[in-house]
Every structure is written in structure tokens, then in C-alpha cells.
């Protein structure tokens, strides 16, 4: 190009050219995605980058609040024990945690030879120290205050639960699974910010706006693990931006709802990993007001809803399939015979009988205001309106007022439940949801057969007994239908497709010690 014109033009040319070059360089495409899969043999190396929505506010082992905290703490502290995808408690740093008297006394045995990264031993004293500190600080959801512990020997701790608690293993796996070095923790509370644990990684640096960096713990108690050399978190508040960051290769993993990941569909650089969360979506009947005080009316409505349509509308995902079971397929309590089936003719017959008995045909369908709730509730309304004789009116209320209106005042006939029912652990969740005095018995349901089956569950001392009791509960449930589930809840991870050996534990995090990358 010939430079012509006045000196004035020449003054502009260089900076403009420099700016153009800079912009061109800046817009170069991102890293190429990896291709192919590993041959199954873990490969050392690489960095796991997890994108999170916010910073961790406290490293105190009792300050576990959400999945994003749990993920980071798993990296630094490891897990004493955890709840796997099927809802079963598995030991990790603990060798075992058992009860032989139905939950009164528990014995924790630790694996031998585990040390914190400051060199101090991970022993029974350390566990007791942490749990006592959590109890004193009022953290851990009160679980640490529900038992007394005593050190038996270097690796053994005995717990006495008060009151008796057959679900203590779950509760500890969810709330007390992180153990910090007592020398490091000292008497600090939530301001504890220099975590020392026995996990697969060691916290190297933290920035509240950018994220944290962790390096491999070469003395991790599982030989050969972690496979990655480092772990890093990147903080991005907006879910769409988090998704784009993973798609572009700026991060390797994030968790979220599947409808966030539409842009990832068909992209070979990423994969979706879906887990049944153990919870389900549902709508609730008011069993103390007409018409749904009559079980026939409840059965009729259950027979006309289309669970596929409901979940697709609720989650804005046309590929999802509904389910009318209160347990996901992976649960040991799942039984296909307890799924509900559709039958419009049979439903209409039931409604005709109900109306002939003089029961009110007016149905108030309460909707906690949010677009996805309204979409789903409108479909419920359409489904119920197929039943001739019923008059359905839809009423939206603010989400913040919904619980009071629906469940404190019982001012509804059907209500879409804007959340997830999670029935794990069954020993406490089922009585809460279905027992006459259950804290979460929003349908005001009360039935002697159900209470009897729940009493059997509470008294069950082994898994066989629990399964038998849950079967009896489900039999009463599908007959009485205080609420109607229409979909299991999924949590989905968006992952770098080179990631191998992805293992998820509740609350929906990945085990960073087990991940390795193909195509390094």
C-alpha cells in the first residue's frame, strides 16, 4: 500500500493499523477440542478447570452450603464418606461407619496412614476435634449436635446418637464429611481461610473475583491419585456465560440444568453427563377440601396428566421424558409397577361418580408465579379440563407468598410444587412427606395404612426391612395419591469431552481425584 496524502494522514495510519492488527489477533479462535477417547488407563497430567458461580466464603469444614462449596472442599479436604448417585453412603477416607443397634451407637473406623498436608495425622482425634468445633460454632446444620463422640483408639471413633438416628450416616456424609487439620483450624470460625486437609489438592491461591488455584497433593492417601496435576476454579456469575466458557474450552466442567446447555448440543468438544438427582417434580392435592378430599378425584386427575408434556414444558426441553415414580430408576427402592398409567375413560367415570355424590366441581389451581411454573400449570389445567364436569380456575400468586397461601392457609385445591421433593434418606423423608404429622405433608394427607407402613420403616433395622416398608408405603401411595410426581429431577454436567472417569456424588459434584484426561 502506498502512503500518500499529508503528514496528518500518516500520523493516523500507524495507530489505526496497530489497532486493526491487535483486534485481528484478539479475535483468533479458541483452542481446538480434543478428539478420541482414552483406552481406559488413567493418564497423569493436565489441569481440571471448574467454572463456578461465585467465590467460596468460608473454608470452615462445617460451612458447607451449596454444591460450589462442596466441590472446592472435596478438592482440599477429600471426603470422609459420601452419598453416591444411587443414594447409598460410601466410605472414602473412612474405612467404615456402621451401627449394629439401629442407629443408637455408630462406629467410625478410619483408613490407616492418612495424613493432612501439614504432616499431622488424620486420626480419630482429628475427626472429633472437627466435629466438636462444628458443633460449638453452630455449623453443619445441627448434625454435630445430635451425637456425642468418643475416641476409642487411633483410628476408631464411637458415636452415640441422641435421639436414635438410623440415618446418621447420610447426615454426616452430607454435612460433616470434611475434616481439617486441627493444628490449622484451631479455634477459628467461619473466617477460617487457610484450609489444610487430606484431599487430592492443596489450595495455592485464592481470589474472590477470579477463583482459586490448587496443586496436586502428592501424598494423597489413594496411590496414583489424583491424576490431574492441578485444579482451578473460574468464577463467572452468568449461567449462559459459564456455558460458553466450557464450550470454548476456557473450563472443563460446570453443573446446571440441561436447558442451559442448548448451545452445546452437537459440539464434539463437550459432553453432557446427566444424573438423576434423587428428587422429583410434582403437583399437590389438598386432601382436606372438595373435590380432592375424595380419592377418586385424585386418581382421575392422575390418569389424565401427560408427564412427558409437563416436564418438557417445565424444563423447556423437548427431549425429556416424564416419570410418575417417586424414586428414580437408579434408586434401590424403585419399582416399575408403581408408575401410574393414563386412562381418560376410566378417569371420566371416576369423576362422574364423584360429581354424582354432590362433591363440588370447582378446582382452584394455585401457581407460584414464574414462567416455567405457569407453563406447567396451564398444561395441568388443560389436562384436568378434559374431565367433563370439573371447572378449573388458575390463580397465580407471588412465589414469596405461595407457601403461606397454599400450605399455611390451605387455600388451594391443586398446586404446582415449585421445587424438588427428595426422598433420601427414606427413613426421614417419607414420614415428613406422607405421615399425618409430617413437616412437609403439604397435602394434609392422613391415612392409617400409610402411618402404619411409615412406622414399619422407622422401626426397620436393616436394608431388607427398609425395602419392604418402602414397598408397602408405595402401595398405599399409588392408591391414595396425595400428590402426583411427573418427572425425576436431573442435574447435568457439561464436561470437556476429553474428561474420563467422571464420578458424581451428592450434592452433584465430581470427584476431582478420579478425573483424568484423554488426548494429553
Amino acid at each position: 500500500m502506498t502512503v500518500r496524502g499529508t503528514r496528518r494522514r500518516g500520523r493516523l495510519l500507524l495507530p489505526l493499523t496497530a489497532a486493526a492488527v491487535a483486534l485481528a489477533l484478539a479475535s483468533c479462535s479458541t483452542t481446538d477440542p480434543g478428539t478420541g477417547t482414552g483406552d481406559g488407563t488413567p493418564v497423569r497430567g493436565g489441569e481440571i478447570v471448574s467454572v463456578q458461580s461465585g467465590a467460596i466464603s468460608s473454608w470452615h469444614p462445617g460451612a458447607v452450603s451449596a454444591a460450589q462449596t462442596f466441590q472446592r472442599m472435596q478438592a482440599v479436604y477429600g471426603l470422609l464418606m459420601y452419598v453416591d448417585e444411587a443414594g447409598v453412603v460410601q466410605p472414602s477416607i473412612a474405612e467404615s461407619f456402621e451401627t449394629e443397634d439401629g442407629g443408637k451407637t455408630w462406629t467410625l473406623v478410619l483408613n490407616e496412614g492418612v495424613t493432612f498436608t501439614d504432616g499431622t495425622p488424620f486420626n480419630a482425634e482429628a475427626v472429633k476435634f472437627n466435629w466438636d468445633a462444628i458443633a460449638e460454632a453452630g455449623l453443619g446444620g445441627g448434625v454435630a449436635n445430635s451425637f456425642q463422640s468418643e475416641v476409642i483408639d487411633e483410628l476408631t471413633l464411637e458415636l452415640v446418637a441422641d435421639p436414635i438416628d438410623p440415618t446418621l450416616a447420610y447426615r454426616i456424609a452430607e454435612s460433616l464429611t470434611f475434616i481439617a487439620s486441627p493444628d490449622s483450624l484451631g479455634d477459628q470460625g467461619v473466617e477460617y481461610s487457610t484450609p489444610v486437609g487430606a484431599g487430592p489438592f492443596i489450595l495455592e491461591s485464592a481470589d474472590a473475583a477470579e477463583g482459586e488455584e490448587y496443586v496436586r497433593n502428592d501424598d494423597y492417601f489413594v496411590e496414583g491419585q489424583p491424576y490431574a496435576d492441578s485444579f482451578r476454579t473460574v468464577i463467572i456469575a452468568d449461567p449462559a456465560q459459564r456455558t460458553q466458557t466450557v464450550i470454548q474450552g476456557g473450563a472443563d466442567m460446570m453443573n446446571g440444568y440441561e436447558f442451559w446447555f442448548d448451545d452445546a448440543i452437537g459440539n464434539p468438544a463437550v459432553e453432557m453427563y446427566r444424573i438423576e438427582s434423587g428428587g422429583f417434580r410434582n403437583f399437590v392435592f389438598n386432601t382436606t377440601a372438595e373435590p380432592f378430599s375424595d380419592v377418586r378425584a385424585r386418581q382421575a386427575v392422575a390418569m389424565v396428566i401427560d408427564p412427558n408434556a409437563l416436564v418438557q414444558a417445565n424444563m423447556s426441553d423437548p427431549t425429556l421424558e416424564g416419570s410418575t415414580s417417586i424414586f428414580p430408576t437408579q434408586s434401590p427402592y424403585y419399582d416399575a409397577k408403581f408408575e401410574l398409567s393414563a386412562d381418560l375413560d376410566a378417569a371420566q367415570k371416576l369423576i362422574d361418580e364423584v360429581l354424582a355424590d354432590g362433591i363440588s366441581p370447582d378446582v382452584k389451581l394455585l401457581v407460584p408465579a414464574a414462567p416455567e411454573n405457569l407453563r406447567t400449570s396451564e398444561l395441568i389445567q388443560l389436562a384436568v379440563q378434559q374431565l367433563e364436569g370439573l371447572n378449573v380456575t388458575l390463580e397465580q400468586v407471588p412465589l414469596s407468598d405461595w407457601r403461606t397461601i397454599a400450605f399455611a392457609n390451605d387455600d388451594f385445591d391443586i398446586s404446582f410444587y415449585p421445587g424438588i421433593y427428595d426422598l433420601n434418606p427414606v427413613s426421614t423423608s417419607l414420614p415428613n412427606a406422607l405421615g399425618t404429622d409430617g413437616r412437609e405433608n403439604f397435602s394434609n394427607f392422613s391415612h392409617p395404612d400409610m402411618d402404619a407402613a411409615l412406622a414399619e420403616l422407622r422401626g426397620a433395622s436393616d436394608e431388607a426391612g427398609r425395602k419392604a416398608a418402602v414397598r408397602a408405603i408405595q402401595e398405599v401411595f399409588v392408591e391414595q395419591l396425595p400428590f402426583v410426581p411427573f418427572a425425576v429431577d436431573y442435574r447435568t454436567f457439561l464436561l470437556n469431552s476429553d474428561m474420563q472417569n467422571v464420578v458424581s456424588v451428592r450434592p452433584y459434584i465430581l470427584l476431582t481425584d478420579q478425573i483424568w484426561f484423554a488426548n494429553q
Binding site: L25, S27, A137, G189, A206, Q244, T245, Q248
Partner: protein, 317 residues
């Protein structure tokens, strides 16, 4: 020179009470929280002993004036305290974030000027022409789009459709200049687009007014080229409104373009302010407010000086 020094000194003196009132107000806000700051920080499940401990540690159990005076003393020593979680000196965090925001703001403002000034000159020299009409519509549209919509649109076009820029992230310039440019490009372009519409309209209005002045007519009758008249004669006297808007913009952006930083994951002052508010780190909030007030004061001192440079008839007092 003496006059300028006196003018600057007077403005700084007048700004001191403003700084004191604003920062005292922020300090007093903590006392207006329901419960206590310690309870707000730890949450409802915290034991009373823990709450009392946090209140004592951060001085929230003392009267606001006593706390404020102690804080002020620390500020004069360069000690803003430490972050709520992490115990990192606030000054370290602030200067790190300020550097990022300065870079982003600088790129955004320069970008906005690079777009706005040439178009304003062209449009003012040909009123009703194609550039004037197109820019009228474009700038109206840009002004009508709120920032929280603009960031989404920019991301959709440049990240999702074109794949031209990374969605989020930041690498410091000192670590890797090229990667830094890659990450700053889209947030800076977003800021530039947001601001250029205002710059364009303000400059266009002043240029149109200036071009009607007699001295411009004289320059034309002398046969001077149009571009020369625009750049050498008309532009400078038309800058006063633009300088004012520029000052407001600089002050606002240096306080942190919160939405842009938040959305694109840029670790600047705006993102830090959002984080500090969400975790109730009052010391950090107070430090950021102080920084913003000081920035505004300095910017408007510069704006006043700029007026004198633009129009030598204006003296700075």
C-alpha cells in the same frame, strides 16, 4: 501555573467534606442493618457467642463515630483493613482490581472516542446526509438498549454466532499481553458502544452550533479545506460538552462498569463491589466508595482544567 495550583488546591479542599460525608454515611449504614453486622455476616444459625466475636473483631460493637475515626486514621496510613474472609489487605485487592478496571475503562473510552469523533465530524459537515441519518438511528438504538441487554447481545453475536472472542476470563497484561488483549476486546467493545452513542450526540450538537459561528464562515470564505476547518477550527471549541460527559463517564467507569465486568468475568472494581456487598464485607465496600469519590473529585478537577485548555478565555479559579 500558580493560578492552576491554587485552583486545584481549592477544589481538593472543597472535596474533603464531600469525601468525609459520603464515607461516614457508608460507615453508618452498617448500624442500620437488622440485627447486627455480625449476624448478617454469619447468618441466622450462628451462635450468639460467634456473632459477638465477629462484632468485636471488626469493631461493630463500637459506636459508629469511633469506628469511623479509627478507619480514617488507617486510611491516612494507607491501611484500609483486611477482607472479611481471607484476611487479605484491602489495599492489595483494591489496587489489583483498579488496574483491571483502569485498563478496561481506558480501552472502552478510547474506543468510544475513535468511533464517535470521526462520525460526528462527518455528520456535522453534511447535515441531513447519509452518515447523519444512519448515525441518528444507530445511536438512538444504542442509547435505548440498557447495558444488561447490550452485554447479552454482544455475547450472542461475537461469542455464540461468530465465535470471535472468548466468553469470559482475564489474563493480566503483565502476564501475557496478547492473551490480555483477547480477553479485554469484547468487554471494551461493549463499553465503547455504550458510550460512543452519547459522545457522538453531544459532540454533534456542539459541532453543529460551532459551524454556524462567524469565524467558521470566515474560514470558509478564505477557501480553507473543509477537513482543515473541522479539525483545526471547529473541533476544539466544540469539546466542552464532550469533556463534561467524558468526565462523568470516566468517573463512572473507574468506579467499575459493574454489569460488564460481572457478565464477562472481568475481575475489576465493579465485580469486587458486587462480591463485597453480597458477602457483607463492609470494610471493602467502604474502601471502594472512598476510591470512587476520590476518582470523581480528581476527574472533575481535570475536567475544569480541560475547559481552560479548550477555551483560553476561560480561566481556572
Amino acid at each position: 501555573m500558580l493560578l492552576i495550583a491554587r485552583a486545584v488546591g481549592w477544589r481538593i479542599l472543597v472535596a474533603i467534606p464531600v469525601i468525609l460525608v459520603v464515607t461516614l454515611g457508608v460507615a453508618a449504614l452498617t448500624d442500620l442493618m437488622p440485627g447486627s453486622p455480625g449476624l448478617a455476616i454469619l447468618g441466622e444459625n450462628a451462635t450468639p457467642e460467634r456473632v459477638a466475636e465477629i462484632n468485636a473483631r471488626y469493631g461493630y460493637d463500637r459506636p459508629v463515630f469511633e469506628r469511623y475515626v479509627e478507619w480514617l486514621g488507617g486510611v491516612f496510613r494507607g491501611d484500609f483493613g483486611t477482607t472479611l474472609f481471607g484476611n487479605v489487605p484491602i489495599s492489595d485487592v483494591l489496587f489489583k482490581r483498579l488496574g483491571v478496571t483502569l485498563q478496561l475503562a481506558a480501552f472502552g473510552i478510547v474506543g468510544a472516542l475513535v468511533i464517535a469523533v470521526p462520525f460526528a465530524l462527518i455528520a456535522s459537515s453534511r447535515p441531513g446526509g447519509i452518515v447523519d441519518r444512519v448515525m441518528d438511528s444507530v445511536t438512538s438504538a444504542i442509547i435505548a438498549i440498557p447495558t444488561f441487554v447490550m452485554v447479552v447481545l454482544m455475547s450472542l453475536v461475537f461469542v455464540v454466532w461468530l465465535g470471535a472472542f472468548p466468553a469470559t476470563g482475564w489474563v493480566p497484561f503483565t502476564e501475557d499481553p496478547l492473551m490480555n488483549l483477547r480477553f479485554v476486546a469484547l468487554p471494551a467493545l461493549t463499553l465503547a458502544l455504550n458510550e460512543c452513542a452519547y459522545f457522538y450526540r453531544v459532540l454533534l450538537a456542539d459541532m453543529q452550533s460551532t459551524l454556524r459561528e462567524d469565524f467558521v464562515l470566515v474560514a470558509r470564505t478564505k477557501g480553507l479545506p473543509r477537513k482543515y476547518i473541522l479539525w483545526r477550527h471547529a473541533l476544539r471549541p466544540s469539546l466542552s460538552s464532550l469533556v463534561t460527559v467524558l468526565g462523568l463517564t470516566v468517573g463512572r467507569l473507574l468506579g467499575g462498569a459493574a454489569i460488564v465486568e460481572f457478565f464477562f468475568g472481568v475481575p475489576g472494581l465493579g465485580a469486587e463491589a458486587i462480591n463485597a456487598v453480597s458477602i457483607k464485607d463492609m470494610a471493602m465496600v467502604q474502601a471502594i466508595v472512598l476510591l470512587c469519590v476520590v476518582v470523581y473529585v480528581l476527574v472533575f478537577i481535570l475536567v475544569d482544567l480541560a475547559y481552560a485548555w479548550i477555551d483560553p478565555r476561560v480561566s481556572v479559579r
